[in-house]
Subunit: 87 residues, 2 copies
DNA sequence: ATAGTATTTAGACATTTGTCTAAATATACA
DNA sequence: TGTATATTTAGACAAATGTCTAAATACTAT
């Protein structure tokens, strides 16, 4: 939960999630979309992975990243709970 | 949007939101619920206010804080969008 | 084996963040 | 007016964060 909020709290990471909504992508393809260095993107991908917001799968020399939306449900549940004020 | 994610990215602030779900509270009442100093809580309240997650209303020497859930809708919308993968 | 490509790991560095204490501001009341 | 209460503002400081370059690892193909 904590790691999910952390994962979402960076514009680059949110943009990565938006990209992955369209298509699964390799780390390299993701890097191409940003002006940030490869290692920095790799670090962001690691945080997203820790938050279980993405899944990484190795295919040969590439690593494919894809969205994992099950964790998003948890956050939505929490937000919905907050939304139902008692008073 | 950015400030909302930031607002949500701290356990103390999330706990404050959960408290305010039950009842509107004064700054002092909120401080009592934590072991953190008054100024620190005040700072968290300020961030929540900037994110428009809470509303502050002065009543005499007290300041009442209450939830503002309209911003939560925005986040939920974004999350829903992420959830609807294209591929 | 060697060289090339894809990606991550390591380490450094500036910025942001969360916390604190001390001081300032605002209101209530005697 | 003066004192107590409620809350914020200011400034300091350690820890966390996002970025970079250089080096390491893993796989492919010549």
């Amino acid at each position: 939960m904590k790691s999910v909020f952390k994962g979402l709290n960076d514009p680059t990471r949110r943009e990565i999630l938006e990209l992955l909504r369209e298509n699964d992508m390799t780390a390299g393809e993701i890097v191409e979309r940003f002006r940030i260095s490869g290692p920095s993107i790799s670090h962001h991908l690691d945080l997203l992975k820790q938050a279980k917001l993405v899944i990484a799968e190795k295919e040969g020399q590439f690593i494919y990243y894809s969205l994992n939306t099950t964790v998003v449900d948890e956050i939505m549940k929490w937000l919905l709970q907050i939304k139902t004020k008692k008073k």
